[in-house]
Symmetry: C2
Amino acid sequence: MRAESKRRSFWGWGYEDQALDDARASNIAAAAAARMGESWNAGRSALLSPPSIEDLDLSPPRISAPSALAEILTADPYERALHTYGKSYRDVLRALLGEFHHAPDYVALPRKQTADADIAAVLEWAEKERLAVIPYGGGSSVVGGVEPLVGEDYRGTVTIDLREVSGVDEIDKYSRAACIHAGTLGPRLEEELRPHGLTLRHFPQSFEFSSLGGWIATRSGGHYATLYTHIDDFVESLEVMTPNGVVTTRRLPGSGAGPSPDRLFIGSEGTLGIITRAWMRLQRRPVFRASADVRFESFEDGVEAVRAISQAGLYPANCRLLDRAEALLAGGDGKVSILILGFESADHPVESALSRALEIARDFKGECSAGAIRIKNEEDKTEAGSSGKEAGAEGGAAGSWRTAFLRAPYGRDALVRCGFVTETFETAVTWDRFSDLHASVMAEIQAAIDEVCGAGWIACRFTHVYPDGPAPYYTVVAKGHADPRSRLAQWDEIKSAASDLLIEHGATITHHHAVGRDHKRWYEIQAPPLYREALAAAKSVFDPHGILNPGALIDPIAVGR
Amino acid sequence: MRAESKRRSFWGWGYEDQALDDARASNIAAAAAARMGESWNAGRSALLSPPSIEDLDLSPPRISAPSALAEILTADPYERALHTYGKSYRDVLRALLGEFHHAPDYVALPRKQTADADIAAVLEWAEKERLAVIPYGGGSSVVGGVEPLVGEDYRGTVTIDLREVSGVDEIDKYSRAACIHAGTLGPRLEEELRPHGLTLRHFPQSFEFSSLGGWIATRSGGHYATLYTHIDDFVESLEVMTPNGVVTTRRLPGSGAGPSPDRLFIGSEGTLGIITRAWMRLQRRPVFRASADVRFESFEDGVEAVRAISQAGLYPANCRLLDRAEALLAGGDGKVSILILGFESADHPVESALSRALEIARDFKGECSAGAIRIKNEEDKTEAGSSGKEAGAEGGAAGSWRTAFLRAPYGRDALVRCGFVTETFETAVTWDRFSDLHASVMAEIQAAIDEVCGAGWIACRFTHVYPDGPAPYYTVVAKGHADPRSRLAQWDEIKSAASDLLIEHGATITHHHAVGRDHKRWYEIQAPPLYREALAAAKSVFDPHGILNPGALIDPIAVGR
């Protein structure tokens, strides 16, 4: 319960008390500015400071809460503020600017013991009162997925936060699966599985502050590079509450009976129902590890090495390629691209797999000194359950990179406060299209940064690699306009240019985030029109009045009321 | 073109000239009878012989073909007979009995160069004339998936056979993917990929006589035991013709953008649209192989060994457990259960993986002599493209088992002709439920066989194993009633008992076959009702008049006409 006792930040990442203080924020800002050949000398006067809850001036709820729901609903200002935004750049900046005019009217907190009835009661009330319902897990969305921006068709909004519906319900150690409540955040989930020697082994960057239900609803990708890393593959069965009733799928290791029902809900982003629990496939905790850092003079050689490794059937746990700029961020010297290779197993040593992968890397001019190879053939008993260590105790670039990775959102918040425009975007694309896509992104987004912001840079890393293509992830850090309100438009212009490029080059608008509200325009180009219509038709069965997360992913079919 | 020049059997498996002759059929029948302690002494007089096309007495087509479709449609009696049934026991027996009264009125053969237009024209005609359309790939369905039994709501039936829409259209060797026409049968597909050093590596038992489109439409399972074996995982993108237009999904190695559109069509069994082509993920052809046969005194020990191996992250290509009865069928001595273990890679030797798997097997009392281990570290250049050899050149039980496996349907046809009731059924279930399920199936289905048929037996093998559960496959061979027509009811009674058991025990009604018409009753218990309703709603978008494969999988929403 360590995690739950701290107070979550309503304006930025994670816990309130973990946010960087002004001095540290200034240091980071100075370093970022220096990289652009600028100086961050505006001093503390230019530092945006979070508003206080008392200053937010939230408008009162537009509808009254029925007394029957008094124990579930709250209109507490902190709760309403906390549930106004996800955690994207746009979200943090708007929160810092005190813009909370579309806070949800109520936040519902279903109780664990009566979760299904509580959720059903809220859904019924929402249907009757014509309220939009926003399902909410950990709130780490970076695509506007939990933002109660729902259009004028609704009389109000209620966010259903599943944080009380948390914990592991049942473990089937023999089949290596567990029934887990959807509101369970990453650390608690792993804490409860650890005594059984098991792990879900799903570690998205948001791990500490995202939930099982959220992972499933957004088709989350973990930080492992290959094989079992996407939440899609771990789902054995689901229970979903819809306004029209409960959907319970059968626990099965495999099936050929019709299109997979689970796959319809995986990625549905709260538009078809609220996932309440799931049987998840687990793994034994890894014991054997081998990892190494490989240096490449040329990023292109690194790409070729990664492609060859991904097509060799070796299945590295990590196969993370950082370009020079990204390597610099991760504590490297910024002179070369770095490939972090890691293998792990609960059952058998993995040195031979690493050796073979290094052999392939060397074929593409990768350099790896003996000192950059780490072998560890015992379980790390010192792991205290902190998310940063869950994925193993790797040293070298892998270890320092991972620490930076998990702390990054706090640093990002600091940069936002200091006036930078900074965000990431990601995609996946087949190998044949990557080179053109990457060249375009690096050239055109750099040009957009220069034009829109005057100074800034873009970096690239691969987060996942598949035999048929990589998932590149781009980080943008740019100088923001002196007027904070203008920075939103600056980012929107860069993001829009990037999204256009992804779609033009045959890539996906999102690979391990989601569509939400922010990507919807491009999703509508990517997804076949008839398919979106079919999805809307399916939605009309589960959610006939279109109350679930309107504005995200798909439009409900016009409501007959 | 080797394959296409032979004539397909309209009543049984494969090619007409490959059917066993009366003498060989009698030998097989005598052996099967002996196993039940009976003698097959009825002699040739009791052998059912296939009818001739001329004797079939097909009723004339109920509608006339428009002249615009003259080049696409045929009412040729052989074609109509060929498209009346799939290849299940029920199908073969009914065909042998000359029951072809529900032959399709027409068979449409879209031409490769104008496939989309041809299919669209047939769909348009079918909508206008209120005809049911049966999409047809290789015709190997064993669940009534291609049978034009469509109810009285339709004025006629037309089967669209994609056999001309065949071949590999484009290869992207860099991303290791290919665009393949849906009508391509297994051997041609592999023939065209082989010069490029690539393989789809998907080998269902029906490989020779099933098509890419059929595999996708039915969520086919290949014969590999673990990891990449299901067609679901190989699909990179799809093109689907629906009565309401074309759906083309984007080629992507991964995506988090909404529920996967491909997954809605994978397993849709021709009810949502006709898959015309797909980009498929390929693999390099394996070079390194290691395999072994392990003997277990007790089937239960073998099960435990398989569970442990499946949970060890070793990913054997084969991990096929045969119980004593099944081992006897495969040429073993029938005194022990046999586990066939095989590993393969295109990139690196796999002996260490086999060694570790054997170590685990020995922990569960598995016995493996040095002579039962086979290592081969070079590509088999002698493979001539026959399906039996595609999966590698393994000797021992693996090799003889595989030959028997692929020839089995011809033997099955012989047994049907000789008066036996013989069929298979399969499922998948989590490990925790397997033991009870298996005990019930073995006891209750044996009892059903005894009661319904008087004599017979049931055998079990695992076709696939997952970390969370096995996919058991059961074979039934029983003595049929003297009156051939009664044998249908005999099998239906056994099958019904088996299906009830699967559903009661939490297993799936099908694992690598499909639902079709035969499993629909049980699928309706397995699949959540709201989900089926949502699927029907999605169907109403693609197929608003409900003309696609009615009777299979799901019911169309009542048609507004």
